[in-house]
């Protein structure tokens, strides 16, 4: 009797080991590339690491003239803009994706979802232009005064209205990550089996009860994954942020004031960095950003179910 199972009486094909070998080499190459990036960042950051030590992480001075460098203003700016972006984009994104997957008719949700995918593909410099010419005046003239009048007792919503600043950058980021959250969450929700929905409906659940008793619990890890993916994008976003944040290496109390982020400072000052130490400090910021994005992306990948992964 012939055995056609793998390893049985199948004629030898020289293509198989070759193909295996080539794919293995490519996989290895990607791994090496990642390690190489981390390693070269580390090497070039070494002068700054040696000079400033851990002080680099919590010092607040960024003074190229006296060669005093520390990263806290940028860490703060990156973190706080990302938090503002998530706080605004996550609730809106969830509601939109619930609407698209559960409530809207197909003829409406299909074109909307298509548009949302298009939004995700717009280059960030375009968002920056919109931010600069539409969002900034709107912030200065309407939104910031309104916030100051209503919840101005919070110190973060006090002070002069600049237009450019941390809040503006956060909200622009929010617009940019919204398509990611919506398109992944919607797809995760759509992948909940119809049998599960019908099972809860047959017990007398309303549409909303179905959403929060069955659809959301089954989509939970995918939704959290989409949020981490959005976070990774927000942390690394450079062009649009630098156009509206004001590029001020400071830790202002008010969200209305200009700030700075890790990605923005690297992009802005890399060409001007004359001394080795200056350059090295920028690269150390790059190293921190690389590590943070790596971890956040990793978490997203673990959480989003295999079939739905977009990035």
């Amino acid at each position: 009797m012939k055995n056609y199972a793998r390893g049985g009486n199948v004629p030898y094909r020289w293509e198989d080991p070759l193909f295996k070998g080539v794919t293995f080499l490519f996989a290895l190459f990607i791994l090496l590339l990642t390690l190489f990036i981390a390693f070269s960042l580390l090497v070039h950051a070494t002068p700054a690491i040696k000079k400033f030590g851990f002080e680099f992480l919590w010092g607040t001075t960024w003074d190229p003239v006296s060669e005093q460098f520390s990263a806290l203003p940028f860490l703060y700016g990156t973190l706080i803009t990302a938090v503002i972006a998530l706080l605004t984009a996550v609730p809106i994104g969830l509601f939109v994706s619930i609407f698209l997957s559960e409530f809207s008719p197909r003829w409406l949700s299909d074109p909307i979802s298509y548009l949302i995918d298009l939004l995700a593909a717009i280059p960030s410099v375009i968002y920056g232009i919109i931010g600069l010419f539409v969002l900034v005046p709107l912030m200065r003239g309407n939104i910031e005064p309104a916030l100051s009048n209503s919840i101005g007792f919070l110190p973060v919503f006090q002070g002069p209205f600049y237009g450019v600043g941390i809040l503006t950058a956060g909200l622009l980021l929010s617009m940019m990550i919204l398509p990611f959250i919506i398109s992944i969450s919607r797809e995760v929700m759509l992948s909940v089996p119809q049998t599960q929905r019908e099972a809860i409906l047959s017990l007398g659940a309303t549409q909303w009860e179905m959403v929060y008793k069955v659809v959301m619990p089954l989509s939970r890890s995918g939704i959290i994954g989409s949020i981490f993916l959005a976070l990774a994008r927000a942390l690394g976003e450079t062009m649009a942020v630098t156009m509206v944040i004001g590029n001020n290496p400071d830790i202002p109390l008010s969200f209305f004031e200009p700030g700075h982020t890790m990605a923005a400072v690297i992009a802005n000052e890399f060409t001007e960095a004359a001394s080795e130490l200056y350059l090295s400090a920028l690269i150390e910021i790059g190293l921190i950003l690389f590590l943070v994005s790596f971890v956040v992306n990793g978490i997203a990948r673990i959480l989003i179910p295999g079939g739905v992964r977009a990035a």
């Binding site: 599960q196 019908e198 099972a199 809860i200 047959s202 017990l203 007398g204 008793k213």
Partner: protein, 258 residues
Amino acid sequence: MKSVLEVKNLSASFGPHPQAASHPVLKGISLSVTAEQITAIIGPSGCGKSTFLRCINRMHEVVHGATVDGDVLLNGKSVYGKGVDPVLIRRRVGMVFQKPTPFPTMSIYHNVAVGLRLNGLKKKAVLDEQVEVSLRKVVLWDEVKDRLSQPGTSLSGGQQQRLCVARALAVNPEVLLLDEPTSALDPMSSGKIEELLRELKKSYTIVIVTHNMQQAARLSDMTGFFLMGELIEFDATSKIFTTPTDARTEDYITGRFG
């Protein structure tokens, strides 16, 4: 004898397309389901058995564009009457599907309690009691009482299906609809479900769709034979399986087609 369900001239179709609307899946079905009996629905694949069940608890309209015509009376009141909330109808009619559908994110306990909680029941003592009663009814209590907090999906297929029956029974439905509840199960588990249904018949009204003719013959009091969306014959099970009136029924039960 009291009739719990009164189906009157029921027609149903899928889709808003004129083509689908002119090809109804159910055509003028009328029958009545008697209290504390098992009514079996048999017929070849695609003849509209599932659709018929789903029209009774208004699940048919969950499919986008599906339409229903005619009426179903549940204990004398129209299910399709003006202003009748389908959600409330579904709370009065239990349904068990072909494949077991326990909720994977809920424990065994919560799988049974979820219907009660949808009804607004919150008291833990009452919930605990109802969960136990329901699980005992489906003879699952002894098997799961020590692992109530484990996910419903951790059970075997047969246990999962009994869990789904318990889930449907927990809210004390007026009718229990089962759509081929044993077709995904092994003979042992099927046997247990049948035994269970025979026991439940004492206090519940049951409508069961089945592909298994022996099962219909063993289990049911009344049998309806569907063919291409029409109810060909509806009569006492003993009559259907011994001296059917219609030649097509005879052809089907003797295995000449379907």
